[in-house]
């Protein structure tokens, strides 16, 4: 676990939304990992660690932020950003950090975790599928929907600060 502590912390930080809560989640995950280390069957240790952190984060969410856990059926029904949102790439590249963080925090959890595992943790699609327990096709569509929402959010002129 310690070799992948930073990765685990980054995932927990975006799943819980708070850095202090992320520390608690990672600490719990470390205990889980230590207990389960005999069950580690080889393979990708980083994906294994992130799976454990994700479980700990979901436990934390169920207890502290139950409303954040939307069901998959709700997710299917969720409207996507309308077509025609075609901001300039340069506008997105310039977005400031606070605005980017707000936009990511506003994503539904399944979209947010897929995006974070890909763009913050740098996992490939196959490892994301194994960490989140969904098929690769679902990883692809969640990633595209997450990025579509971020592009729409960052591509409009900010109303106020």
């Amino acid at each position: 676990m310690l070799p992948h502590l930073d990765d685990g912390y980054r995932l927990a930080r975006w799943l819980t939304g708070e850095r202090a809560d992320a520390e608690d989640v990672v600490q719990e995950a470390c205990v889980d990992a230590f207990r389960g280390i005999a069950g580690f069957a080889g393979g990708n240790a980083r994906a294994w660690v992130l799976t454990i952190v994700r479980h700990a984060a979901y436990r934390w969410l169920r207890k502290n932020r139950p409303a954040a856990l939307v069901s998959v059926a709700d997710l299917d029904a969720l409207a996507d950003t309308q077509q025609g949102q075609t901001p300039e790439a340069a506008l997105i590249a310039k977005a400031d950090a606070a605005r980017l963080e707000r936009a990511i925090a506003a994503l539904p959890v399944p979209f947010r975790e897929t995006l974070v595992l890909r763009d913050v943790n740098g996992l490939d699609y196959r490892d994301i599928a194994s960490v989140t327990g969904v098929p690769i096709g679902t990883v692809m569509s969640r990633l595209a929907r997450a990025r579509g929402r971020l592009i729409a959010a960052l591509g409009v002129d900010e109303p106020s600060g």
């Binding site: 070799p3 930080r13 205990v31 890909r118 740098g122 490939d124 490892d127 098929p135 096709g137």
Partner: protein, 243 residues
């Protein structure tokens, strides 16, 4: 699967060289697609640059050391072992990507069925004949494959028929029916064979169930959950074609 999804896979380096070249051609010919590629790339670089380097605070390491300290005295599996496993995993996992997931040609029928399902999802239409009427779909196969498949109506079970297509499995044209459940597609491949019980497996995250009935071997593949795909297989097996 639309070009839009493929743009993301392209930016993420998940396409094999042939598909990447194909998409580059499409981007060169389509200004809107090129703009989308630029947006996705800009967003990815932005997140990577701003957020991918955050480190866990040093005090967290201390906290974990103290929580685990007592445990470490008692049981022996060490973090050193974990670190060694991580290094090994990094070597094993390098070079793994999505469409290059299986650089070797698929060798089992189930793998070829999954490959056909994936190709169909990527095509503009996952089917060659589009109809929810089995009396339209079944005759369409006549003359195209040696044996038209059994087509049943499962609308009441929640699996409406979408249409059919011809796949090539083991150099043989085979009939494939496409059903839908909510927003998920199910490909059902039928090949003449001996009867036996359903078998389940997962390939690249897709669930595959295969079984035989009346001398025909069926493969159902979908990103549906194993339980939902099981209900589909059960409904198909139990349905009378004359209903």
């Amino acid at each position: 699967m639309t070009d839009n999804l493929l743009v993301h896979a392209y930016v993420d380096g998940e396409l094999d060289p042939a598909h990447a070249l194909e998409l580059e051609g499409a981007i060169a010919a389509d200004v809107a697609l090129a703009a989308e590629r630029n947006r996705v790339q800009a967003l990815r670089d932005l997140i990577r640059g701003r957020l991918a380097h955050e480190r866990a605070p040093a005090r967290l390491v201390g906290r974990i050391e103290s929580v685990l300290g007592a445990r470490r005295e008692r049981s022996r599996p060490s973090w050193g072992m974990m670190a060694a496993a991580a290094v090994l995993a990094a070597v094993v996992a390098s070079g793994s990507t999505w469409l290059t997931l299986r650089p070797q040609p698929p060798n089992t029928t189930a793998e070829m069925v999954v490959a056909s399902h994936l190709r169909a999802l990527m095509a503009p239409q996952p089917i060659d004949v589009s109809s929810s009427d089995r009396h339209t779909v079944k005759p369409w196969f006549n003359g195209r494959v040696p044996q038209a498949p059994r087509v049943v109506d499962l609308t009441n079970e929640g699996f409406p028929l979408v249409g059919g297509r011809i796949d090539v499995i083991d150099r043989m044209p085979v009939p494939t029916l496409v059903y839908r459940h909510r927003q998920h597609l199910i490909s059902l491949v039928a090949i003449p064979a001996a009867a036996n019980m359903p078998e389940r497996q997962t390939i690249a995250g897709y669930n595959v169930i295969e079984w035989s009935d009346n001398g025909v071997r069926y493969w159902a593949v979908s990103d549906l959950s194993a339980a939902d795909l099981d209900s589909f297989a059960k409904a198909f097996r139990e349905a009378s074609p004359d209903r």
